[in-house]
């Protein structure tokens, strides 16, 4: 696969880089921190993170690289591991295999592939261990790193890009990994990796090396000629040092003092100039000797020279033929993954369950209405409001926290083109339903029974449905908020604000007609107002209350109570429809936020 890019930039980030790699080769980008390795990989994978390509282009198979093309044939292993914490290593890989391997694979073949990758990366010992994260114990850091690499190796991509694959791995595993990568490269694939400190035995495995320092090319060529090149320009490598270490040190910028920094910058500048000169002069020589074509063009001309395509098999083609699983299939895999991950998280399940049950018992016993003393009118009204407006707050906080913990993974998987937004959206929404249903049952049924609310079965059902809807509104609102804002703090603060606004305009804390125009209009979209109205009507319509006041017994019809709270303006079905409408609206907003807002995460706790 011929592949060429040509890049010039006015800033110091990356200047005048021109290199061509064909399939079957492994290119290592080396250099000290801050040399532009990650920037380079970002440019190749079409991720414009802040920077802009001033001039130059990247060609894959002679075609200008686009996001679409990159998704199809480039696998990118990132430096940070983004994995679901409660799945085991094998499960993680199986789910990816179901999403990533072409349809033509049978289940056995998929399973075989997973097992192969597990063996390849020496993950057999921990295959049945949870992946884990900072709060839950799981596999070790190095193992998690290997799982991330395994995820990308799984689908056999045409171009494999790895950002610091060996950092955090022990030397033995690192060595094995690079051997694996070089074997992959031999199988007509292109492997590109950035690495800051390759061991000598790893260095020997590289085909091509690109040595960068503050964005400038110091050397690019075959690994075995590197020492020869530097010797020819007067920097021989001492006998017992690792050439990679020696030359990375030579070109690194020492920022400890100002003078040293200037000196290093000077040296780097001269080295990159020498290299440009050398390559210009020996252009032919290099090309002939290595069957490799590297040309440097100045940043002004920046149009890469098209070299004739000479490669036989194009790996991308294979992937275009084999269709990846689509729509319904993606949805079912994602749903399965979502539910498995949730079910495995015992601690969270217990905590959420305890939250629901304890609050239900507390409220239920507080408003205990069984037996001789039924609840008074005021207490019943207070109970009906509170039921729908206090505890869902915890649901909002939980949902926001959970979505944010998954946000970075979602972003990366969408960028990788593992699945599209729509299946994810449906899987997420439907995957939340069992938990939601369980929460409402555990929370609202005990209260209903303990407080001895209207005992007719249809009233109970209505009450339950209203509770279900109001909690669902809170949940969808939280989903929307966490998709809309990049940090956990902003999301939880603003969902808190919406919740409180809905709460204050609910008609219980402040009378509806004491609200001035703006909040009065807000009250129409306040889900608590509608649930309160609905619950009031369900409870009081067609009932009478006897009130004992100074030896006089008054009979108050239930409708009057509803009227006194001004909750009778709209019929019951209006409450239902509005609540359904509000949650549908939040879902729509959630979908739109997923679709149009990058799910990049910048969480900082």
């Amino acid at each position: 696969m011929p592949w060429e890019w040509n890049k010039g930039s006015e800033t110091a980030t990356m200047t005048n880089l021109n290199i061509r790699v064909s399939s079957g080769q492994m290119l290592a980008v080396i250099g000290n921190s801050g040399c532009g390795r990650t920037t380079l990989l970002d440019i190749i994978t079409c991720k414009d993170e802040g920077g802009k390509i001033k001039s130059g282009q990247i060609l894959i198979n002679g075609k200008l690289s686009t996001k679409h093309l990159v998704k199809k044939c480039v696998a990118h292993v990132r430096q940070d591991d983004q994995l679901l914490p409660h799945l085991t290593v094998r499960e993680t890989l199986s789910f990816i295999a179901k999403l990533r391997l072409p349809k033509s694979y049978s289940d056995q073949q998929r399973q075989k592939r997973v097992e192969d990758v597990i063996a390849e990366l020496r993950l057999r010992q921990c295959a049945n261990t949870k992946v884990g994260n900072e709060y839950t114990r799981g596999v070790s850091g190095g193992e998690r790193r290997r799982v991330s690499i395994a995820v990308q190796l799984l689908w056999n991509p045409g171009i494999l890009i790895l950002d610091e694959p060996t950092s955090g791995l022990d030397s033995f595993t690192a060595h094995n990994l690079v051997i694996t990568l070089s074997r992959l490269a031999r199988g007509n694939r292109l492997v590109l990796l950035s690495i800051h400190q390759p061991r000598s035995d790893i260095f020997q495995l590289f085909d091509l090396v690109l040595l960068l320092s503050s964005g400038a090319t110091i050397y690019s060529g075959t690994a075995k000629d590197m020492v020869q090149y530097f010797t020819s320009i007067g920097y021989p490598c001492p006998r017992y040092s690792n050439p990679a270490d020696f030359y990375v040190d030579l070109t690194s910028i020492d920022q400890r003092t100002r003078e040293q920094e200037m000196e290093c910058l000077e040296r780097t500048k001269s080295l990159s100039d020498i290299f440009q000169q050398k390559v210009k002069d020996f252009d032919d020589f290099l090309w002939k000797a290595q069957d490799e074509n590297r040309e440097l063009t100045s940043s002004e001309t920046s149009v890469s020279v098209q070299t004739p395509t000479k490669d036989k098999v194009i790996t991308i083609g294979k992937h275009e033929k084999d269709e990846l699983p689509k729509g319904i299939h993606q949805f079912s895999v994602l749903l399965n993954r979502h539910v498995s991950n949730d079910l495995r998280d015992l601690t969270t399940l217990i905590i959420h369950g305890a939250e629901a049950v304890l609050m239900a018992l507390l409220i239920g016993f507080l408003y205990y209405g069984q037996g001789a003393n039924p609840l008074s009118i005021q207490d019943t009204v207070a109970l009906l409001f509170m039921k729908g407006s206090l505890t869902p707050f915890a649901v909002v906080l939980d949902v926001v926290a959970k979505c944010h913990s998954e946000r970075a993974m979602l972003y990366h998987e969408l960028e990788d083109g593992l699945y599209s937004i729509t299946p994810y959206f449906f899987a997420k929404v439907i995957g939340e339903l069992p938990e939601h249903f369980a929460f409402v049952v555990f929370y609202s049924v005990p209260i209903y029974w303990l407080a001895n609310l209207n005992p007719l079965p249809e009233n109970f059902l209505m009450n339950f449905l209203l509770m279900w809807l109001v909690v669902y509104c809170s949940r969808t609102m939280a989903l929307w908020m966490s998709a809309l804002f990049p940090t956990l703090q902003i999301s939880s603060f603003l969902s808190n604000a919406i919740f409180t606004a809905s709460y204050l305009t609910g008609g219980f804390i402040i009378r509806l007609d004491n609200l001035w125009t703006v909040p009065f209009w807000i009250s129409f979209v306040s889900f608590m107002r509608w649930s309160f109205a609905g619950l009031m009507q369900v409870q009081f319509t067609d009932t009478t209350y006897k009130v004992q006041l100074q030896n006089i017994t008054l009979t108050i019809p239930g409708e009057l109570i509803v009227e006194s709270m001004e909750m009778d303006a709209y019929p019951l079905y209006a409450s239902f429809l509005t609540l359904i409408g509000i949650s549908a609206g939040f879902l729509l907003l959630y979908y739109l936020s997923l679709r149009f807002i990058k799910q990049k995460s910048s969480q900082d706790w």
């Binding site: 791995l169 022990d170 094995n176 609050m359 005021q378 207070a382």
Partner: protein
């Protein structure tokens, strides 16, 4: 391979003043673990014993630096944890550690060894000099100011931090010193206590090659000054080969080899594995001693190789020599005392004072933190005011309902903002206190108390701003003394919200869970205690009793009395119209108070006392929770 034999690694016990030696003998560590995850019921109930460390023994003297090499999972970190006394009581630790020939008790480990963890936890708004000075003040209380300054300067010079001494350390949000400097500050903080034995867990991980080399060179210089330095290291570069006096290689929890570089080369030569010319000896030998689990056959083969090498080492001269040295040091006539870290146990109060100054200094540079603390309540107040604008005076227009609503919000809202502050700002400090308490600098609850003291003024100020705004905007009772009382009543709930969150943060690590849990706890308190949502007289007996232990009960009673006492309302435009036939149950505020809190007007002082008594009680609760955290973390 060319190796320069170092003079300091010769094998006689030097009798120099101030020198010391450490022998670690037959350290074994085993844990019992569940075989499978919880959803796999059958295997979950089976437990198996896993041996993490197997008979590890070595001997070191002052002036030496030892590197522990090995693959991940070989037990490097566990070994360091075990020696430093940081290992939990989850497993069983066997074996002895001798320093200068006398056996060390498990409790003494922490006082003798300094341990630098892989992750630096430092306060992000302090400068390097301040960080070290505060550590020095905590560790060396009895020294004079000049002595401490001198000590800090000398430590900074030793770790070449002098040129950036007054740079702020920085955190994730803003830039400060580089990662190599951060690591050096962590090491410097340990050096303040003048330890003779320093352990470091992966000091070079996450640093680029040049910085990593620099750190290792610095450490070897430290060792030359009569200290013992033991580090676990990951992929050291070949230049470092000659720097270490001793190299230990671990595999599967066993010490496969331990000796100086020259001995290592000859030992492996004798075993028949010669290090090739152009490769890094570290990497070569580590690869040689690691188990390849890719296939069963490879696993058996590599495992038996490791086993052969390990038994060859056990029979080798080096190992016999080590054993002899251990015996010699144990039997030596003139036993030197155990070189404990310098620690003149300063009084608890002065520790608290230093910590207090440190947290204040740290917060004073954190502008966004201060703004958040001060403005959160106000934003909340703006929110309420936006929806309500102003109270009516007619019961039919909701005069009672709206007032109760605002009182409820003042109670619940200020508590919630307190919780948010704690959850956002405290976890970082908690991480630091976890680490420093393990260094024996202070106890976890000292940090907690310092934190609590430094938030009090901010809490008061924040409530005053909030109160002044909401009180006059929505039109609560317009009397200055009542305004004063209102402020005094709303301060405790704000503090209690934060304190409650702190107490839970002591037991639960994940701040998100604390956030939701404590929010619910506050709501539950309001439900049971306030009497606004459920009349106190009609509640079941248990909850009536329970309500006495909620601060919300007293707070709410006071707020209601403060607002409604002697306040008269109209009813449909007419005043003073009461009676069962009227639509308004109450037009006199005093009647209303009597109906929900009978006799509340007469126990205002009592309520105030009770409300304020909750604050110290909760502080004690927090301290207990953090004492409990000690026990939890030891497990």
């Amino acid at each position: 391979m060319e190796v320069v034999e170092d003079a300091s690694s010769d094998t006689t016990i030097s009798g120099k003043e101030g020198s010391c030696n450490i022998s670690v003998q037959n350290i074994c560590y085993t844990v019992r673990e569940r075989v499978g995850p919880w959803w796999d019921v059958q295997s979950y109930y089976n437990k198996w014993t896993r041996q993490i460390l197997r008979n590890v023994s070595f001997y070191m003297e002052s002036g030496q630096i030892m590197a522990i090499l090995g693959n991940s999972g070989s037990g490097k970190t566990t070994l360091l944890d075990a020696i430093s006394g940081r290992i939990g009581s989850k497993g069983t630790l066997l074996g002895d550690v001798y320093v200068n020939g006398s056996q060390l008790k498990k409790e003494q480990f922490q006082d003798c060894f300094s341990y630098v963890l892989q992750h630096d936890s430092l306060l992000s708004y302090l400068t390097i000099r301040e960080t070290l000075t505060y550590t020095a003040l905590l560790a060396l209380q009895k020294h004079s100011k000049d002595a401490i300054k001198k000590k800090v300067d000398s430590v900074m010079a030793e770790l070449s931090l002098t040129h950036s001494a007054d740079t702020v350390i920085g955190g994730r949000v803003f830039n400060g010193i580089s990662s190599g400097e951060r690591r050096r500050v962590s090491i410097a903080a340990q050096l303040i206590q003048d330890p003779k034995i320093i352990l470091l867990d992966e000091p070079t991980t996450g640093l680029d090659a040049m910085t990593a080399n620099h750190i290792v060179l610095l450490l070897s210089e430290l060792a030359r000054k009569d200290r013992i330095v033991i580090i676990s290291i990951h992929q050291p570069r070949s230049e470092l080969f000659r720097i270490f006096d001793k190299i230990a290689i671990m595999s599967c929890g066993e010490l496969v080899f331990c000796g100086n570089p020259q001995e290592m080369i000859t030992f492996f030569d004798d075993c028949g594995y010669e290090c090739p010319e152009h490769s890094n000896p570290f990497d070569f030998f580590v690869d040689l001693t690691s188990v390849d689990t890719r296939t069963k056959a490879r696993e058996m083969e590599t495992y038996s190789r490791v086993h052969t090498i390990a038994s060859a080492y056990k029979d080798s001269n080096q190992f016999q020599n080590t054993l002899q040295l251990m015996e010699a040091s144990k039997k030596s006539k003139v036993k030197q005392s155990i070189p404990f870290k310098q620690k003149e146990a300063p009084s608890e109060l002065s520790k608290l004072f230093v910590l207090f100054r440190r947290t204040v200094r740290n917060l004073s540079r954190n502008k966004s933190g201060i703004i958040m603390r001060l403005s959160q309540n106000l934003i909340f107040g703006l929110f309420i005011a936006f929806f309500l604008i102003r109270f009516k005076n007619d019961v039919l227009e909701g005069a009672l309902q709206d007032r109760i609503g605002v009182i409820y919000q003042c109670l619940g809202g200020t508590g919630y903002t307190g919780l948010l502050n704690a959850v956002a700002l405290f976890p970082a400090l908690r991480a630091i206190s976890d680490q420093e308490s393990k260094d024996g600098l202070y106890q976890k609850w000292h940090m907690l108390l310092a934190y609590i003291f430094h938030i009090v003024p901010f809490s008061i100020l924040s409530v005053v701003i909030f109160g002044a705004f909401i009180y006059w905007t929505v039109g609560l009772h317009p009397e200055l003394t009542r305004f004063g009382c209102f402020i005094a009543i709303t301060i405790p709930p704000h503090l209690m919200g934060e304190l409650l969150a702190l107490a839970v943060l002591g037991l639960v690590n994940n701040p998100n869970i604390v956030n939701a849990g404590v929010a619910l706890l506050n709501i539950a308190g309001i439900l049971v205690g306030s009497g606004l949502l459920r009349s106190l007289q009609e509640m079941p007996r248990v909850f009536q009793l329970l309500s006495y232990v909620t601060y919300q009960r007293y707070c709410c009673e006071l707020l209601v009395v403060n607002e409604f006492y002697d306040l008269n309302f109209t009813c449909g435009g007419l005043s003073n119209l009461t009676g069962p036939t009227s639509q308004c149950p109450y037009t006199k505020g005093t009647d209303f108070i009597e109906s929900i809190y009978p006799g509340a007007t007469s126990r205002v002082t009592f309520d105030f006392l009770m409300l304020y008594a909750f604050v110290p009680a909760m502080i004690i609760g927090c301290v207990i929770s953090f004492k409990f955290r000690d026990i939890l973390m030891r497990r």
